[in-house]
């Protein structure tokens, strides 16, 4: 289950950030998880609670934002929203879409004490 190892990466980042920004507890972690990122929010949440046990972020809230996925249509040259990698262009129906965003996996904001 790779969400577990992603949570371990999150914990590493929190520890590094704690040393840099001098905080001892994390109360909230806000992350951007793109819809094309192959991460299941439910599984990430489950892993988060387990991995953070006994750490500086035990009991912290994980707030997951889902930024929209967008693609460039190579037929009509518009930037269009997509839900899946194989969507067609909603403007012109073309299949020639180049995904430009939607696979983000990043921490955006921390609430700390």
């Amino acid at each position: 289950m790779h969400e577990m190892s992603l949570c371990e990466s999150i914990l590493d980042i929190l520890k590094e950030q704690a040393a840099r920004d001098r905080f001892s507890r994390v109360k909230r972690v806000s992350v951007d998880i793109g819809p094309l990122s192959c991460v299941e929010p439910e599984a990430l949440q489950f892993g988060f609670d387990v991995v953070m046990k006994g750490s500086l972020a035990e009991g912290a809230a994980l707030v997951i934002s889902r930024p929209p996925a967008e693609a460039l249509c190579l037929s009509c040259f518009k930037t269009v929203p997509v839900k899946q990698r194989f969507d067609c262009c909603p403007e012109c129906g073309s299949e020639a879409l180049q995904v430009v965003s939607g696979d983000e996996l990043k921490i955006r904001e921390l609430e700390v004490v």
Partner: protein, 268 residues
Amino acid sequence: MCTVCGCGTGHSHGHDHDHGHNHDEDHVHFGAGEAGVSVPGVSQSRLIQIEADILGKNNSYADRNRALLAEKAVLALNLVSSPGSGKTTLLVETLNRLSGKTFASVIEGDQQTSNDADRIRATGAPAVQINTGKGCHLDAHMVGHALEKLPLEAGGIVFIENVGNLVCPAAFDLGEAYKVVILSVTEGEDKPVKYPDIFAGADLMILNKTDLLPHVDFNVDEAIANARRVNRKIQVLQLSARTGAGVDGWLCWLEGARAMQAAGLAAE
């Protein structure tokens, strides 16, 4: 099997729902929140804005592997597929054919056992087995340590057989030059659209077990069309690792990839 990531560990993703979720428009809020802690005026909490890629550490290990491989002029390929599509069988056939011509070694990723590494070593090629335990993918850190144990000869190839899983290996760059996804004709032609991330990230799709085509209901054209729906640039080869039919085309592709690596042109 775990339906979240396709791994075979049989672990449970059930979690007690005492934390509750709220689903806003494009936010899903999970977690214990501040119940019982947020007394107004008492909390001295502050906000820190960061832009930290959660895969950043893996990516920096991958960059390190890629730089080492470039410096040594070694071509690394990341072979991904669902369990049993024929990765090890194809590697054994490939190593036998390369033997005496191109130096090749193998990194084998499996949750348990060294069966696959033993099959590889029987060809005479060096192999390192990584057992991931419960982990359902290789990461760049593991691969970096495996590379330390392998002889890296200029002009050679390192094949990395990932854990059989069409889901998470998509997220973990190992530092390879190319990602190769293997789909066998017994798996159904809809796999590329069911598991789009792994096909979207692959440079080459190998359709394996073509010897079974007369016996299965598998539409090759549809499988290729599905792969191209998620990845317009994906290259496709058809072969049978069992009979050897089409393996020449794969060896040809390997020659091209080796030339690209030697010229420093192999893409991420």
